[in-house]
């Protein structure tokens, strides 16, 4: 079976987000009442796996091994079967 994984990697709370702060500053200058901007990266991954659960486990492994640095990053994963 083929699965479409969406992995979002963002900063853990408490870590400053210079990119988000810069974007927020400019958005305010453009007239928006922006309180805060947080930047995250989204990886869309097509993966062969035996089940949805297996696909999820593989994605978690990918985060630990490459996509996220546990010092500063959080991640969320969504899995959908690719028809």
């Amino acid at each position: 079976m083929k699965f479409r994984l969406k992995v979002e990697v963002g900063l853990k709370p408490g870590h400053s987000d210079p990119e988000g702060e810069t974007a927020a500053r400019l958005l305010k200058e453009l007239g928006y009442k922006v309180e805060r901007v947080n930047v995250s990266k989204v990886y869309t991954i097509l993966l062969e796996a035996g089940s949805k659960n297996e696909a999820l486990l593989r994605a978690e492994e990918m985060c630990r091994r490459l996509l996220a640095n546990p010092t500063k990053d959080n991640y969320t994963i969504t899995v959908e079967e690719e028809k």
Binding site: H15, S16, P18, E21, T22, L66, N69, P70, T71, K72
Partner: protein, 272 residues
């Protein structure tokens, strides 16, 4: 080991820079230094033929995912046995700028209890954000453990340039104080950003150019044989590489960067 027999491997991949400057620095000090593509080292299986290993600066693999992350995980997949042997035999490993990012991502630094599977620290996006290329002052904080700097007096202020966008040294928030204590206890803190008189930057830009926790610019492992630093010693090797050379009438022939390379070489001469 005789100086002329020392062989240094400078590893490169796509996006590496300053490998030629690093080679020049080593050769000027009388050792053999070769620039090798990481693929060739894997193909030939000859990493253990070298006495020291350098990960130079640059933007390996385009800094994709996180600076240094791709190369670090590539190394773990392809060369982990050799790298572990290098580490265990206490052959010196130097990571400059992107090389520091690689060593942290690969778990070779801070390596409180040996090489870790997952990173225990991070070099995050600069604060203030952006690519900062400037000369900075560094205070040497090591008490003698780091083999690269054991000839440098504790408290000495050095001058070197930084050139990076992801150099903000971080520990996990919940372990910040604990890990900092371990850095001090193990004598792993090597360089901190400071002003020209050696006063700590206290996070103030541009003295601390990237917002690093505790103004950290460079650390070593507990054995002192792996050093990672964000500033570029190879760009501060000769007097004419320094920003004020046209305004000075008399300058020492070498810049402060030489001390790091010399430390590595003297360690090899004594130990092996």
């Amino acid at each position: 080991m005789k100086r002329e027999d020392i062989r240094v491997c400078i590893l490169r991949v796509g996006g590496t820079n300053c490998d030629a400057e690093t080679q020049t620095a080593f050769e000027a000090l009388g050792v053999q230094a070769e620039i090798l593509h990481a693929n060739d080292v894997v193909k030939r299986g000859n990493l253990m033929d070298y006495d020291a290993l350098v990960f130079p600066g640059g933007f390996s693999f385009g800094d994709y995912v996180r600076a240094g992350a791709i190369w670090a995980k590539w190394l773990v997949a392809k060369l982990s046995k050799e790298l572990k042997a290098f580490f265990d035999e206490e052959r010196p490993i130097l990571g400059i700028c992107n090389g520091f990012q690689v060593l942290v991502e690969a778990g070779f630094l801070p390596a409180f209890d040996g090489i870790t599977q997952y990173p225990e620290a991070a070099l995050a996006t600069n604060h203030p954000p952006g690519y900062h290329c400037r000369w900075v002052y560094l205070k040497h904080e090591n008490r003698g453990k780091c083999v690269f700097t054991c000839n440098i007096q504790e408290g000495k202020v050095l001058r070197m340039p930084v050139a990076h966008a992801e150099g903000r040294f971080l520990f996990p928030k919940e372990k910040e104080e604990l890990y900092l204590e371990r850095l001090y206890d193990n004598d792993q803190l090597v360089f901190r950003y400071c002003d020209k008189n050696g006063n700590p930057a206290d996070g103030v830009y541009p003295i601390n150019p990237n917002g690093s926790f505790h103004d950290i610019a460079g650390i070593c492992n507990p054995e002192g044989t792996v050093l990672g630093l964000m500033p570029h010693p190879e760009r501060a090797f000769y007097w004419w590489q320094q920003p004020d050379w046209t305004r000075q009438t008399l300058m020492p022939f070498y810049g402060d960067g030489k001390l790091i390379f010399e430390g590595l070489i003297e360690y090899l001469e004594k130990k092996f």
